[in-house]
């Protein structure tokens, strides 16, 4: 069994990689790359040559190409000692046109051009964009840069190799003096013992030189123990949630800030919503602002905040899991009764219901349901994170359950009827068992086996949310992430979400098979039994 599952998992891994590759080919090579600026507010603030360099730097940030501006090249020369600091300014000054370069600058520009041309880069020089009176337009300064496209396979390799990031004490560049690099285990978590005099028991592992300050800690939020050793990096978002990783976008809490009186490492007591456990390192950030200097004792200043809502996945999962439970509780017994009293009144009503759900567009019945729920039962029809009203969950849960109920009814009835016609049932009947006994002891157990196969899938996919339901009730869930990303041409999010879906679907199929073999001893995945 274990060997079989490992084989299946490897197989699944292969298909996940293939899916991601297909999606990457679709969006990185077929789609026009300039579309990523469609949802970028900064893009419209740039003009002329500045816009070109902005485009290039964004392309680099999103993995399309390698981009080296001339100034970076000069800086690296200064660093390596080839160029003195005194010469830097005159060398870095690019003339409005090539003819206007100073002699020294022209030499280095030539050197830059030759060097990067030999490495396969394209060197671009844009002359100054002049107004009619000879002055330079806004953003029209002359620019010089080299760029080279990153081929898709390199990009894919990079994506997969950087997906899992292990935090280590050499994360902060070794050039920076950060004190002793080490991991420390403490029983007195400083967040709960800010002055060092309290004796609150809270074990934690802290690091110096790592990206995260706290690598393992406890707090009052689910799942109570948190780790930062391993970070999952599914791809950076551009427009949907700028600069934030897809996985974080899906799992970070939303809503409004929850303020509490808290003590910062410096001993400063303030009403803030900062979650000190999430502190990450940013070079020189403590000295950058007064606020940071008053609060923090080191450069671990980048903290997330406590918010009152759940994460995107959280909302989707709560709604999804309740609707799954509701669907199984209602769908299976109704399907069973429909088969038990075939051609009866319940069977006829149920068939009409199934037909209605299959045939009518889901949009139509969800809207219909929303209208009925709102006007007849006076339930809240829009989701509001701040209200804390539990009633607002009812309509989305029921709307999401409607099609699952129909589906379960349909299959349960089908499987029951198939079983009812099988020989062992006829034998049991001829042996004198009552219909009730046949149903409760034999038929439904056998009919349930194929149903069991779908349970892990429906639970797991409760996390991904439902596009239409969440849109109609304005639930801040994960269902709309993919459509949002597509609408805003946020390629990083598209790839990340697809990968997430693919992993879930592979896992749910494997779990379904395992579940099925546990319920039905006749099914075995070991080679011997076959």
């Amino acid at each position: 069994m274990g060997k079989y599952i490992i084989k299946r998992l490897l197989h699944g891994l292969f298909s996940v990689i293939c899916v991601v590759l297909i999606v990457m080919v679709l969006i990185y090579s077929l789609l026009d790359r300039s579309k990523i600026f469609a949802g970028d507010p900064n893009y419209n603030h740039t003009a002329s040559n500045n816009r070109v360099t902005y485009e290039q730097s964004r392309y680099e940030a999103f993995g399309y190409l390698d981009y080296v501006p001339y100034s970076d090249y000069i800086n690296s020369l200064v660093k390596s000692g080839e160029l003195t600091d005194a010469d830097r300014a005159s060398v870095a000054k690019i003339g409005n046109t090539p003819e206007k370069d100073s002699e020294l600058a022209a030499k280095y520009i030539q050197q830059f051009t030759d060097y990067y041309n030999s490495k396969g880069y394209t060197v671009t020089r844009l002359d100054a964009d002049l107004k009619r009176n000879g002055q330079i337009r806004d953003g029209g300064q002359p620019v010089l840069f080299a760029s080279r496209d990153i081929p898709l396979y390199m990009r894919a390799i990079k994506y997969f190799t950087t997906m899992f990031q292990f935090d280590n004490i050499h994360h902060v560049s070794d050039d920076i003096d950060i004190g002793e690099r080490k991991l420390t285990f403490t029983l007195r978590d400083p967040v709960y013992n800010p002055t060092g005099t309290e004796k609150v028991f809270a074990p934690a592992i802290m690091g110096n030189g790592t990206l995260h300050k706290y690598l393992l800690y406890f707090d009052g939020r689910f799942p109570f123990i948190h780790q930062n050793f391993l970070t999952i990096n599914l791809g950076e978002s551009y427009t949907v949630n700028r600069g934030v990783d897809v996985f974080t976008t899906m799992t970070a809490t939303q809503g409004s800030y929850v303020l509490s009186t808290m003590t910062f490492p410096t001993g400063n007591v303030l009403d803030r919503a900062d979650d000190l456990h999430t502190a990450t390192y940013i070079q020189n950030s403590r000295d950058a602002t007064d606020i940071n200097r008053q609060r923090f004792v080191d450069d671990y200043t980048n903290v997330l905040t406590f918010k009152n809502g759940m994460s995107k996945i959280g909302y989707s999962f709560v709604i999804g899991i309740f609707s799954v439970i509701m669907a199984y509780i209602l769908g299976l017994p109704i399907g069973l009764l429909m088969a038990r009293f075939k051609e009866g009144i319940l069977d006829k009503i149920g068939t009409v219901y199934i037909m209605f759900i299959i045939a009518v567009p889901s949009l139509a019945y969800i809207f219909l349901f929303k209208a009925i729920g709102g006007s007849v039962f006076h339930l809240p029809t829009l989701f509001n994170m701040d209200s804390g009203d539990k009633l607002m969950y009812i309509l989305p849960i029921v709307s999401l359950a409607l099609p699952s109920i129909a589906n379960l009814m349909k299959w349960m009835r089908r499987y029951m009827i198939d079983q009812m016609n099988s020989d062992y049932v006829k034998f049991a009947r001829s042996g004198g068992l009552s219909e009730m006994e046949i149903f409760t002891k034999h038929i439904w157990k056998n009919a349930l086996i194929p149903i069991v196969h779908g349970i892990p899938g429906s639970v797991i996919f409760a996390m991904t949310g439902a596009i239409i339901t969440e849109r109609i009730y304005s639930v801040p869930g994960a269902g709309n992430l993919l459509t949002q990303a597509i609408n805003k041409y946020d390629n990083g999010v598209i790839v990340g979400v697809t990968l997430f879906y693919a992993v879930l679907s592979v896992v749910s199929i494997i779990l379904g098979d395992v579940f099925m073999s546990m319920v039905d001893p006749r099914i075995s995945f070991t080679d011997k039994a076959r």
Partner: protein, 327 residues
């Protein structure tokens, strides 16, 4: 001897009482009532009165979607189908519209956001949606059934195609459609392309499973032992079994394309043509405005009626095309 018989048939006694030729070949023939498959299908189908009503409704929809816009020369950009200039002609209830423009079939559902007749635009939109559904279904079913048959018959193809199915099945369909829409202009034919590029795969997989079930039945084994060619087994032994399965599947496929088009349009990825989905999408703000609900609910209702009618006709035709119901 009975002279009358001799006279009646103009035969002598010897001729009348001559023994009949015993034909070995003739005696092998089995006489049975003439059975025509398709005639029986329609006999069973029309046996249920409800089917006649549904079919009439279906014809009614087809006429309104395909003939009505042609008769009134519908063009969504030309008066009198649009009254953009007149602010008083927008968002009218049926009664208001009839007061304003006169009692006329065009205004029985009121007027929409640009002063157009909701009734006319719904039927024009239905035409696009129904055409999309039929074209997509035709392409997907043809390709799917054909490839599914090969997939089921050949074990080598099976290994390869199952792998392809497992991989491609994980790519979100909405992603493929939206990439198509972003690559090309989101026109009718882009939508057809996007819906068919991997849409056939699910159908092919379904057919493959059915073929595998029937392929190894005893009567096919016997047929193969007697030397029937694979093509003949496929066409004569298996295809008749599949007809009802295919028709039943068509019954779920056709409405699903309309539903999917509505869904895509609603999330903002629909085509540029004024299909039913686009109508629903653009009328969504009207739903929450008192007095304007008609604009939203009427295309939703028509879309639902169309899909239900298509589904019921298909299901019942599927039942009727199962030879076991022909007794």
């Amino acid at each position: 001897m009975d002279k009358e018989l001799n006279i009646k048939y103009n035969m002598t006694d010897e001729e009348l009482f001559a023994p009949v030729d015993h034909n070995e070949l003739e005696s092998e023939k089995i006489t049975a009532p003439r059975y025509s498959y398709w005639r029986s299908v329609f006999r069973v189908f029309f046996h249920h009165r409800i089917n006649i009503i549904i079919l009439a409704l279906f014809l009614f929809i087809i006429i309104f979607a395909y003939v009505y816009p042609t008769i009134i020369h519908y063009d969504s950009e030309v008066n009198p189908f649009i009254n953009l200039m007149n602010p008083e002609s927008k968002h009218l209830s049926p009664a208001e519209a009839m007061n304003m423009f006169g009692k006329n079939i065009h205004w029985i559902l009121g007027a929409g956001a640009s002063g157009e007749s909701t009734f006319d635009s719904i039927w024009y939109g239905s035409r696009i949606s129904i055409s999309l559904a039929f074209i997509c279904a035709a392409i997907n079913m043809t390709v799917g059934v054909f490839i599914g048959a090969i997939w089921g018959f050949s074990k080598k193809v099976d290994i390869f195609m199952t792998e392809v199915y497992n991989i491609v099945g994980n790519v979100p369909l909405i992603l493929i459609i939206s990439v198509m829409a972003m690559l090309f202009t989101p026109s009718f034919w882009t939508m057809v392309f996007a819906m068919t590029i991997i849409g056939w795969l699910g159908i092919a997989y379904f057919i493959r499973t059915q073929v595998i079930i029937i392929r190894d039945r005893e009567y096919n084994l016997a047929s193969r032992c007697l030397g029937t060619s694979t093509v003949k087994i496929a066409l004569k032994n298996i295809l008749p079994f599949m007809t009802s399965v295919i028709v039943t599947m068509l019954a779920t496929e056709l409405p699903s394309y309309i539903s999917y088009e509505v869904f895509l349009a609603y999330i903002g990825m629909g085509m540029s043509e004024m299909s039913l989905g686009r109508l629903i999408y653009s009328a969504e703000p009207a739903m929450v405005t008192p007095g304007w609900e008609m604009e939203f609910w009427s295309p939703v209702a028509i879309a639902s009626i169309i899909t239900v009618v298509l589904y019921v006709v298909g299901q019942n035709l599927g039942d009727a095309s199962d030879p076991r119901t022909h007794m």
